[in-house]
């Protein structure tokens, strides 16, 4: 976590004496930030005031320096206790009072020290490694008997998100869902972020989690171009997106519709099955691309650009394609494993995959949810991914406009 924090209490005649102003000025001048969490002002001059201030600094060392500087002015660290641990009673079973995580940065207090929880996601448990002071967020099914699990709320703190330095659409940190708002500036901001992430190494990867509507609606060429240009490093999709993308390459159709003619082609409904069958015969999507059977499109670009692809299965799947993970817990684990280092997530035209991805993303990752149906971004926000910017828009239009912002001539 980039920030260290401590809660301090300041009380007495702190307002007229300018002691509160001095403490806040000191925090600010030393390079820290603060939130005044609670403020009770004395009713008359002789009544004391009381305030609780959360002090944050970019490093633990600076935080200590700030706390040492404000302590003589009466700002005392709030009394805090260590977190409570209980062993997991059996594999996959958590202690009754386990702490359930949010997707916000979280710390637990061990032997008086605040330790960052690694791999934070919503709805997980927190497990403390017995041999080192390493703390991980762990899904319920992955807990082993005897794992030391955090229970209750003592010694656990959640760090609110800092406002990003960039003053763009993500700075508002709230889901905006409306088909009646102009979205040009949102696309401009997304494009700016993507260019920064691509051009400045170490800033993070871009994840696109998408549904087959991208292909049906005509966003395939734009997405392939974005991948070819190095703007996307991770793709989450289902069997269908990959199948229809390659169907388009082999047959020029998507679910039997001619992509250029715009109408159903005789026996077109068989095309995706024949595509899946052909790839199954070859053995993998990668081999199909490298052998030249699949030449263009999203999957071809992913193979050529070494994009991390996680294809997850569903009950509705035909085939499925080789590489599609049909064990849902294994698929969840594969998605989770691909997430470290993500700096921007685009969730496009897939209700269930968008929510699944949103559940795995920490709140610190700027996220955009694009769907023609306003209920999808709303649902995502309702399930806790409050940081996601909702965009009510057709998938193809979104990808084309985004690609054009980034220089696509299509």
């Amino acid at each position: 976590m980039a920030h260290a924090q401590e809660t301090v209490v300041l009380q007495g005649h702190i307002i007229d004496s300018l002691i509160l102003a001095k403490v806040l000025d000191t925090i600010h001048m030393m390079g820290g930030t603060y939130d005044v969490r609670e403020m009770k002002v004395g009713a008359s001059r002789k009544d004391p005031s009381h305030t609780t201030i959360v002090v944050r600094a970019p490093s633990a060392k600076l935080l200590d320096e700030i706390l040492a500087a404000i302590q003589p002015h009466g700002a005392m660290a709030e009394r805090e206790s260590d977190c409570t641990l209980e062993p997991a009673p059996a594999d996959g079973i958590l202690p009754e009072l386990f702490y359930a995580t949010t997707h916000l940065p979280t710390q637990v207090r061990l032997d008086g020290q605040w330790v960052d929880v690694e791999g934070i996601e919503m709805d997980l448990a927190i497990v403390v490694n017995p041999t080192c002071a390493k703390v991980n967020a762990v899904p319920m099914h992955a807990v082993k008997q005897g794992d030391r699990v955090v229970v209750g709320r003592d010694g656990v703190r959640v760090v609110p998100l800092e406002r990003p330095k960039e003053r763009d659409v993500f700075g508002f940190m709230e889901a905006q869902v409306s088909s009646e708002r102009p979205h040009g500036h949102i696309l401009t901001d997304i494009a700016r972020r993507m260019r920064t992430l691509r051009d400045e190494s170490g800033r993070g990867k871009v994840l696109l989690s998408g549904g087959p509507a991208i292909v049906h609606a005509g966003g395939r060429a734009a997405l392939a171009w974005l991948i070819d240009q190095g703007f996307i490093q991770i793709l989450f999709a289902g069997n269908a997106l990959a199948a229809h993308d390659m169907e388009a390459d082999l047959f020029g159709t998507s679910l039997g519709y001619g992509l250029s003619a715009g109408r159903a082609v005789p026996h077109g409904h068989e095309h995706h099955l024949r595509t899946i069958n052909r790839i199954r015969a070859i053995g993998s999507i990668e081999k199909a691309v490298k052998s030249g059977v699949i030449k263009e499109g999203i999957m071809a670009s992913c193979v050529r650009r070494n994009v991390t692809v996680v294809l997850t299965g569903s009950i509705r799947d035909d085939g499925p394609l080789p590489g599609v993970i049909t064990d849902s817990m294994a698929a969840q684990a594969a998605m989770r494993a691909a997430l470290p280092g993500v700096g921007l997530a685009l969730l496009v035209a897939s209700t269930l995959l968008s929510i699944a991805t949103g559940n795995l993303l920490p709140a610190t990752v700027p996220t955009v949810c694009v769907d023609v149906n306003p209920s999808v971004p709303t649902k995502l926000a309702d399930r806790g991914s409050f940081q996601a910017v909702g965009l009510v828009m057709d998938a193809a239009s979104f990808l084309r406009e985004l690609a054009r912002e980034l220089g696509w001539k299509g």
């Binding site: 005649h13 004496s17 002691i19 004391p48």
Partner: protein, 266 residues
């Protein structure tokens, strides 16, 4: 009538160094100190009309002579000091015993809440000021505010030569304030200026401040202050005060002067 607690300088000496004025090498001339102390007492009683309560000095406690640090008293309620330096903590029990023996209600502060009495807590009838950062802990002022039901405004002391509030801040009976602004940080200077309007603020020059001009005792129109503070004397006289310069240089060797040698009892 002003009643003041004083303690004869029988054992007064510089036996340790806990402020920039103290030098072990700068020995106290005890006879001279005794003569200066009696000079101050005579002026207090005969010229200012004060009533003096003398407490017994204790061997080995050289700073007990500075009774301003015994604690703080309002009406019949006393809060004895909690000294920051261990060498002075031994005085606490004697001051507490004196308050109890003389019928005061005594509130004892927590051990780690440093408070050096009327050396750091001074004020006007409606609001008190508490010096902190050098000796007293800012947190004590909330406790004292609760105990006495008064507003206490903490002010930060930033110059170690002015280590107690009473070395740089002296409320006068006419409502004026004699003080040395650079001893305070900017916030405290702003608060003092906000509470005490300009015509009532009397800023002493540095030369006088370093002679402890602000460590004065004011009783009605009488102000007893260290000798040699010509400008401060003039400023006080133009405001109608009767000034009484007292030679107290032996006590300056320990960083104290007229005010430090007295504690107002009511």
């Amino acid at each position: 009538m002003s009643r003041l607690l004083v303690c004869p300088p029988d054992y007064f000496a510089v036996e340790y160094e806990i402020n920039p004025w103290m030098r072990l090498s700068n020995r106290v001339d005890r006879e001279r100190a005794r003569a200066q102390w009696y000079g101050l007492m005579a002026a207090l009683e005969e010229q200012a009309g004060a009533i003096l309560e003398r407490m017994s000095p204790v061997a080995g406690l050289p700073d007990m002579v500075f009774t301003a640090n015994a604690g703080v008293v309002m009406s019949r309620h006393a809060v004895p000091s909690r000294f920051r330096h261990p060498v002075r903590q031994k005085e606490e029990q004697h001051f507490e015993r004196w308050f109890r023996a003389h019928g005061y209600d005594v509130t004892v502060l927590e051990r780690d809440l440093y408070f050096e009495g009327a050396g750091d807590l001074l004020g006007f009838p409606d609001s008190w000021f508490g010096g902190y950062r050098q000796r007293s802990d800012i947190r004590v002022y909330q406790r004292l505010s609760e105990i006495f039901g008064r507003e206490v405004i903490p002010v930060e002391l930033v110059d170690s030569r002015f280590y107690h509030l009473d070395t740089c801040f002296c409320p006068l009976d006419g409502g004026e304030l004699l003080y040395y602004p650079p001893a305070f940080d900017g916030y405290a200077q702003a608060v003092i200026a906000d509470r005490i309007p300009e015509p009532r603020r009397v800023a002493v020059p540095e030369a006088d401040a370093l002679r402890f001009a602000c460590n004065a005792v004011c009783i009605g129109k009488h102000v007893l202050l260290p000798d040699g503070c010509a400008e401060t004397t003039r400023l006080l006289q133009t405001r109608g005060y009767e000034t009484h310069p007292i030679v107290l240089d032996e006590f300056m060797k320990a960083g104290g002067s007229a005010k430090c040698l007295t504690l107002a009892l009511d």
